[in-house]
Amino acid sequence: MRALFTGALPRTVLTVLLALVMGGVIMQVSGKDALNAYQVLFNSAFGNERALANTLLAATPLIFTGLATLIAFRAGIFNVGVEGSLYVGAFTAAWVGFTFVDLPGVVLIALAFAAGGLVGGLWGLIPGYLKARLRVDEIVTTIMLNYVAIRFTDYLVTGPFFVPGMANAMSAEVTPQAQLPRLVERSQLNLSLVVALVVFLVVAFMLRRTTLGYEVKTIGSNPVFARWIGMPVSRTIMLVMSISGLIGGLAGAGQALGVNYRFVSGFSRGLGFDGIVIALLGRGSPVGVLLSALFLGALRNGASTMEMFTRIPRDLIDIVVALVIFFTAVEIGFNWLRRRRPTPDAVPPPGSAAEPEKEGVRGNA
């Protein structure tokens, strides 16, 4: 947290500015007015109450996925699987929302979030278990399981939960009392933001004030030491992956109940991946995640208006975000990432005699 005020923040800002400048150069080269474009972008992200609400709306799932990725990062786990948890969580929440139609709103919403979080957590537990008990590299398994989740939920809404007459693959609409109340007029900003902020507080508290938080940080910074002093490393890894998945599931639930009012196949388009960007940009601090989510939300929200008014394709924002990641990844000096350069020891190349160390989290290779 201290790092936020001693150099990390200026460097983050510099990184972002550099990416924005390069994005501007790209626009100028393509014969567009970059300054004007950024002005439009800024105005449509923060210009008035509605713009701000929409920025917060775009930031909401990113706060969840950023925190989900962050908590795993802190334990030295590279969880790329938040996207998968988000999908299964979203479907589960939507299923609760269109199945238990007789329950009162408050109960139903709580139940839907709980179910979405639970299933998301169980989804995260699969790679967590494989990593903790069998030392299977979590990066590979989580990437693979993302695709399984996306295809499987697609199957659910085209097969068993198929709704005739729908143009796209989507579930039935959740019952009205399960739809999250909106927070302001003329924007879809909804209760999900409040849930996200609660999760933020819980995660921040957990990391700073609880035994689990201490274990997470110790395992993340020195797994050998953690094992030596008798910390339950394997159990903590599984727990962290479950919590990470749970938060991912809540993100999905929030989108299903608050924005789409149903499960839409393939709806996320990388919200989980954005979580990695945010956790990186936020440099391991929950507050950093909050700010980064807001920044990315503003970019994504402003991009569509920018496209409308300046005829600059919104895909430019993806380029800018990619540049931000490159610069951050290059510049970042964080131990929890630098230490872990994934080596293919999960599957040793043929003929290799080298056995990987018997550690839950690899040390300096």
């Binding site: 790209i26 393509s30 590279f78 790329v80 699969i126 494989l130 008990r133 069998l134 030392r135 299977v136 590299d137 990066i139 590979v140 398994t141 990437i143 693979m144 399981l145 695709y147 399984v148 295809r151 499987f152 199957y155 085209t158 097969g159 990388g270 991946f273 990695i276 990186l280 394709p313 895909d315 430019l316 924002i317 993806d318 380029i319 975000v321 990619a322 540049l323 990641i325 490159f326 951050t328 990844a329 290059v330 970042i332 990432l337 630098r338 872990r340 350069r341 994934p342 080596t343 293919p344 999960a346 599957v347 040793p348 190349p349 043929p350 003929g351 290799s352 080298a354 056995e355 018997k358």
Partner: protein, 303 residues
């Protein structure tokens, strides 16, 4: 006879569908072997798809487009290599960034350069003509199955033994394996580590460029946004499934190509949902890795 016909058809389309997977898998295994796993295969393929269509259209020659696709793949791989070896950026993050850059970049360029979004299929651009090998292609069944394909299909077949040959029988290839197993040890015996890493990744870039080119002009002649649709990750799955071995990776690609061919055919004929086949490669990888690791742990427990 009809069944035989169907089987030959499925087999032939398996070979076609496996082509980009095989090419990308060879790239993936080179990156795995050199210890710098490149999950940006997807992005390099997509850039290749765009390049072949754009340059093929501008230069009026699809083959020139293929050349451009290779060059673009190599350039992106060089960028990736620079970022992860010289600047020591995190591998996975850089790979993901590469994918996003390619996805956003191609969509952006599509709009800026050709004023379209979604799909770009210029009428002036022709797909690569099928290369029917003389005599061989006239053989019954086998001719249709093996010797009447788009040229890049044969290139993918050549890429398999060539990759194996390079990796196991040449000095740079053996260096690459050594670096992947222990970079410090490799450096200490005087292997030019960084140069070999560049080499492995840039050959991979060329292969991914070819893979993307096949997707775009192997059959039809068009570019569609995000047309790689996760094939880079399927190729990566094949590599992990085969533990980085060239021939086994290619075999896995053929298997995954068969899944893809089947999901088109069986969609109408059977009750197996197509998503089942789409999920299978990924599920197989997770299970394989779990089994390999479980065996390793079990052995450790006894020793």
């Amino acid at each position: 006879m009809e069944t035989l016909d169907l089987i030959v058809n499925i087999a032939a389309s398996t070979l076609r569908l496996a082509t980009p997977l095989i090419l990308a898998a060879m790239a993936g295994l080179l990156s795995l072997q050199v210890g710098q796993v490149n999950i940006g295969l997807e992005g390099m393929m997509l850039a290749g798809s765009f390049a072949v269509v754009a340059f093929g259209f501008w230069l009026g020659s699809t083959w020139m487009g293929v050349l451009a696709a290779i060059l673009v793949g190599v350039a992106l791989a060089a960028l990736f290599a620079f970022v992860v070896t010289r600047l020591k950026a995190n591998l996975i993050v850089s790979g993901l960034a590469l994918n996003l850059l390619a996805s956003g970049g191609t969509a952006y360029l599509l709009e800026i350069l050709f004023n379209t979004s979604g799909t770009f299929s210029p009428t002036a651009l022709q797909s690569l003509p099928n290369l029917s090998l003389p005599v061989l292609s006239d053989l019954p069944l086998v001719g249709r199955l093996l010797f009447n394909h788009s040229p890049l299909v044969y290139v993918s077949w050549l890429a398999i033994p060539l990759t194996a040959l390079f990796l196991y029988r040449t000095i740079p290839g053996i260096h690459i394996q050594a670096i992947g197993q222990n970079e410090e040890a490799a450096r200490s015996v005087g292997i030019p580590v960084r140069r070999r890493q560049y080499l492995a990744l840039m050959i991979g870039g060329a292969l991914c460029g070819l893979a993307g080119a096949h997707l775009a002009v192997g059959d039809l002649a068009l570019f569609r946004e995000d047309m790689t649709a996760g094939r880079g990750f399927i190729a990566l799955a094949a590599v992990y499934f085969a533990a980085g071995r060239p021939r086994l990776s290619a075999l896995a690609c053929l298997l995954f190509g068969l899944f893809e061919a089947l999901q088109f055919r069986l969609q109408l004929a059977s009750s197996i949902p197509p998503q089942f086949f789409q999920m299978l490669p990924y599920v197989m990888v997770v299970i394989t890795l779990a089994v390999i690791s479980a065996r390793k742990e079990w052995r450790k427990g006894w020793s």
